[in-house]
């Protein structure tokens, strides 16, 4: 056990219960990536959470539910149910197909910052001319054969270690697996965070890095064990390069 463990162990049961906020999860993920002991402890709590539902009363559903289920699985997949931020996710992910780009970029940026970080929006607005888009860059993440229908966009501030990843079309994973974002520079991969997707395959992840995100050459997303890995171990599902790296 190292000194970090003392601050983390109190939160491990809540991690297993899935009730931590994004900041706490990120902090723990960073720690778990290099702490076998805490990872093992989380697995023990996961096993508890996995059995707690057995203590709920068993109640037989109405017999008609089975017919409704059969009709539903025989029917074509229903349109996706609207999720919080889903429209925004689609805006960003579908950005390359939209025009005019400048107008959409401004709109997306305004929406993005309006819902996530007013302070940074204020900084952008007051930092220079126009929309402030000169401070922002985008990296489009393209699917691999492991997730052919997926797409993603990483929006980041050129001079800061902060950004937002939006993905869609990724398959939902088993509870023991998570997607992990990798920030890549000269072959070195640094974890950019962990996330799971909704039933509709969508997710947003706030990305924080000690270095400006724009300095990284590429970004990738792989499937990893819950809690993350120190380096990619699973299948890559999305990847993309910065323009600087493409040049």
């Amino acid at each position: 056990m190292n000194s970090d463990c003392e601050h983390i162990t109190d939160l491990l049961p809540s991690l297993a219960l899935g009730i931590l906020d994004a900041d706490e999860r990120q902090r723990i993920a960073t720690h778990l990536a290099h702490c076998d002991r805490c990872r093992s402890e989380v697995q023990g709590y996961d096993a508890v959470v996995g059995r707690l539902g057995l203590g709920s009363p068993q109640i037989a559903p109405p017999a008609a539910l089975k017919q409704r289920l059969l009709r539903r699985i025989m029917a074509p997949e229903a349109p996706r149910e609207r999720q919080p931020f889903a429209w925004f996710s689609r805006l960003l992910v579908g950005w390359p197909r939209l025009a005019p780009i400048g107008m959409m970029a401004g709109l997306a940026l305004a929406v993005f910052l309006g819902i996530s970080n007013f302070y940074m929006w204020h900084q952008v607005r007051t930092s220079g001319s126009g929309s402030g888009l000169e401070n922002v860059s985008l990296v489009y993440l393209h699917p691999t054969g492991a997730a052919p229908g997926a797409s993603g966009t990483l929006l980041m501030f050129k001079e800061g270690g902060w950004g937002m990843l939006v993905v869609q079309g990724l398959p939902a994973l088993a509870p023991e697996r998570e997607y992990q974002l990798w920030l890549i520079q000269k072959g070195q991969r640094t974890s950019g965070g962990l996330f799971s997707v909704s039933a509709q395959g969508e997710a947003q992840l706030e990305v924080r890095s000690a270095r400006p995100l724009a300095e990284f050459e590429a970004f990738g997303i792989t499937i990893e064990p819950r809690g993350g890995s120190t380096g990619p171990t699973g299948k890559k599902v999305l990847g993309g390069h910065t323009r600087r790296a493409d040049a």
Partner: protein, 185 residues
């Protein structure tokens, strides 16, 4: 239920075997619907959540990985997540009733062909109920809000008028006791 039997069914479901899916549904429908109804309070919403769960099983059975969890654990995780999604989207009134663990998890009649595994299944359910019942009420209270309603530390603290640190301490103590009682390593 036998985890290995369930795992076999999952593999068959992943290949589109409707008979396997039917058997899996019959085995687990009361577990899923019971959990959903307990969490959501409304039968109609619980039915919708149950449908969501089994549709996901049908469409994504190929993503199940036996190395990480039993099919029933995976199923319960999906069921809990679907119910919490609905709670967080505000589709149900949270004050309809307080979700609880069962006093005695008496099960409906087992599905045909599952009689031989039913005794073991009931025994496992009773172990869980006993372990939860042995928690101090103060710990059980915070765990109930965390597990059945997906409340964050802050939400629990606000709901129960407790300091945040007390909430974290009680959750950890409850989970440690359960881990020891259930033999989870």
């Amino acid at each position: 239920m036998s985890p290995s039997d369930d795992a076999t069914l999952m593999h068959r479901i992943a290949r589109g075997d409707e008979r396997a899916f039917d058997r899996f549904y019959e085995r687990h429908k009361s577990t899923v619907y019971g959990l959903a109804l307990n969490m959501l309070g409304e039968p109609a919403t619980a039915e919708e959540a149950t449908l969501d769960v089994f549709v996901q099983i049908w469409r994504h059975a190929s993503e199940y990985n036996a190395r990480h969890a039993s099919p029933r654990t995976w199923l319960l995780a999906i069921a809990r997540n679907k119910a919490i999604d609905r709670l967080r989207r505000g589709k149900v009134r949270p004050d309809l009733q307080q979700p609880q663990w069962a006093d005695d998890p008496l099960t409906p009649l087992p599905a045909p062909g599952d009689l031989e595994t039913d005794v073991a299944d009931r025994d496992e359910r009773r172990r869980v109920v006993r372990a939860v019942r042995e928690l101090p009420e103060a710990q059980r209270q915070v765990l109930r809000l965390a597990y059945f309603q997906g409340y964050s530390h802050g939400q629990i603290a606000e709901a129960l008028a407790l300091p945040l640190g007390t909430v974290k301490t009680r959750i950890r103590a409850a989970m440690q006791q359960l881990k020891a009682a259930l033999g989870a390593t």
